[in-house]
């Protein structure tokens, strides 16, 4: 029985990790006042770049690195467009999401001459932490996971501390909260917004890499399947408190993992697929009831 529960914990973590990286990217953008809905496309690009990178370098970590760098580069469109050129981040993001979808499919055909999915023989997935297998409790949870899974939590704590304890972090938070005040104290607001968005791109690259080389070892067209949107919802849910993100993302991970479980015992996949979205929406509504009370204005 215990094995079953621990393996469930493992499944939750597995499902939650990509969302967690992406949500952290969104949260950092939110901290500088950029509404970032480009996560879905960036994560998808990251997944593709990770697989392509692993295929070409022959190393899964090479794939992760390429995913990280190229997705950061991809995020430059949103970063420069919204921060420097004051373009609407929503429209840019709609565009880059479509672009990522099209470009990954296009490159799949052009580079690898396949369509739908790409999983060549010998494609290096990220190594699992099998050395933990014999450790009680930890083993069943983490032995089958990649290093990126525990790293997600380290990164989130590190980012949280960085925001809290360093001058740059403090300034970054101020940029989102009151840009005029920050600018009046000599902080370059567009520059912070730009680099925060690019950093978000790097994190989405890792999210994609974990998805394509950790959770599975394959790239499939549109394999992010809405995880980026769940991440956006998670960012809304925690409303600017990044340290709450793990909780939100683990919740979504649990919904997804529970879905798999229920499928295992015969529940239709179609309904379990919808569960994360439904749960997200319900939780959003519940947390916003206070908002509803605060404005009874008849419009």
């Amino acid at each position: 029985m215990q094995i079953f529960e621990l393996s469930f914990v493992a499944a939750v973590l597995l499902a939650a990790t990509p969302i967690l990286y992406a949500a952290l990217a969104g949260a950092i953008s939110a901290q500088v006042g950029v509404f970032n809905i480009a996560l879905e496309g960036q994560m998808l690009w990251g997944a593709f770049a990770a697989v392509a990178g692993s295929y070409y370098t022959g190393s899964a970590w090479g794939g992760v690195l390429i995913a990280l760098l190229s997705t950061a580069l991809f995020a430059v469109i949103l970063a420069v467009g919204s921060a420097r050129w004051k373009a609407d981040p929503i429209i840019i993001a709609i565009g880059t999401n479509l672009l990522a979808l099209g470009l990954t499919g296009f490159l799949l055909r052009v580079l690898f001459d396949v369509s739908g999915s790409f999983s060549p023989r010998g494609l290096e997935g990220l190594p699992k932490m099998g050395f933990l297998a014999d450790v009680p409790v930890i083993g069943p949870i983490f032995a089958g996971q990649t290093l990126l899974v525990p790293l997600a939590f380290v990164v989130i704590v590190a980012v949280g501390l960085w925001l809290k304890a360093t001058p740059a972090g403090l300034r970054l938070r101020g940029v989102g909260e009151h840009p005029d005040a920050a600018a009046s104290l000599g902080v370059n607001v567009p520059s912070f917004q730009m680099w925060a968005t690019i950093l978000g791109g790097a994190l989405c690259g890792i999210a994609g890499a974990q998805l394509a080389l950790g959770n599975v070892t394959v790239f499939t067209e549109n394999m992010t399947a809405g995880r980026g949107w769940i991440a956006v919802a998670a960012v809304m849910l925690v409303a600017g408190r990044p340290l709450w993100l793990p909780l939100a993302c683990l919740g979504f991970g649990a919904a997804e993992a529970l879905g798999f479980r229920l499928q295992g015992i015969g529940a239709p996949q179609q309904l379990t697929d919808a569960a994360p979205y439904a749960i997200t929406l319900v939780v959003l509504v519940l947390t916003r009831i206070r908002f509803a009370r605060s404005r009874k204005v008849s419009v």
Binding site: G81, I91, L99, L101, G102, R109, V110
Partner: protein, 359 residues
Amino acid sequence: MTSTPTKPQPRARRLLATALRHPAVVPLGAVVLALLIGAVIIAAAGLDPLTAYAAVLEGSLDPRQLDYTFSVWGFICGMALAAAIPLRMGEFNLGGNGQMVLGGLTAAWVALNVPLPGILLVPLAVLAAAIVAGGFGALSAPLATRFGIPIIISTLLLSPIAVAVVSYLLRFQIGEAGSAVAQTPRLPEQGRMWALGDLSYSNTGLLVIIAMMVAFYVVDSRSAVGFELRVVGANRRFGAYGGVRVGRLAFGAMAAAGAAAGIVGAIIVMSSPYRLIDGALISPGYTFAGLAAALLAGGRPALIPVTAILFTILQVGGASMERSADVPRQLSDVLQGVVIVVLALRTVLDQRRTERSSA
């Protein structure tokens, strides 16, 4: 800015600046730039851009193809409406897929289960689809006004739920028994869209969509509600101050948007092959092609048919491009994305202008 040592002629420059401000320049420029970027991508892939683009045009505008092309143009126009109506008041409807699928399901159910002659059954099915999908779309309005969840987010979260539920119903509840594919049985004769002459793809559904576009144009330019939509889109506070009930307006706009998407779903289902097939409504990507068309038109009703032509050509021609020029059809999606990104980044021109004037 580093400029050439020779002083640029101020007159020519001014002329250029004036020309650049013409409203048609932005969409047109975005398209041209996107096509150039697309050409670079094709060339980088070691293929010939000219052959590819020629193949796109041939594939979509070949007289033998026009029947099909027009039907797709109709669907894209319909989905463009679903995006454009809320866009007029500054809201994004990204839930077109869910709305469309619900409409398709409703139409299929009505066509299969209501024993009426075709003359009544077809309008009833379309109407029912509009009501169900419209109601579903309108859900986002109270979520925004009462709970502060942006419409862009709620439509995105609601859409996959609808898609999944429809998929489930198809597979387990109302789907054809014993079929490998999750799909409804073929709709009966009286539950199919009426044909237009001997065309095999375009049918009266296309006329319905054209009628919807005309209706949107008229409502937008002639009605009080259309006026209020534009006012709120231009300045929400101004609208509220002037007495526009913004919450109700959002409800109406989202209901209309959902209804438009639902009608598209209904028409697709009631056209050949006369079934609702799992995933068949979504996979052609009409929703985002429509959204792209709406964005490119800036929500303006009169421009939507024109911008929709572009994305129709890309969509339909993509297949023949793949066949004859060996360029993957996903290039259509790439170009859609590039058009939108370029369009959004047009602000760089304003930025440059202000920088120059302040320098």
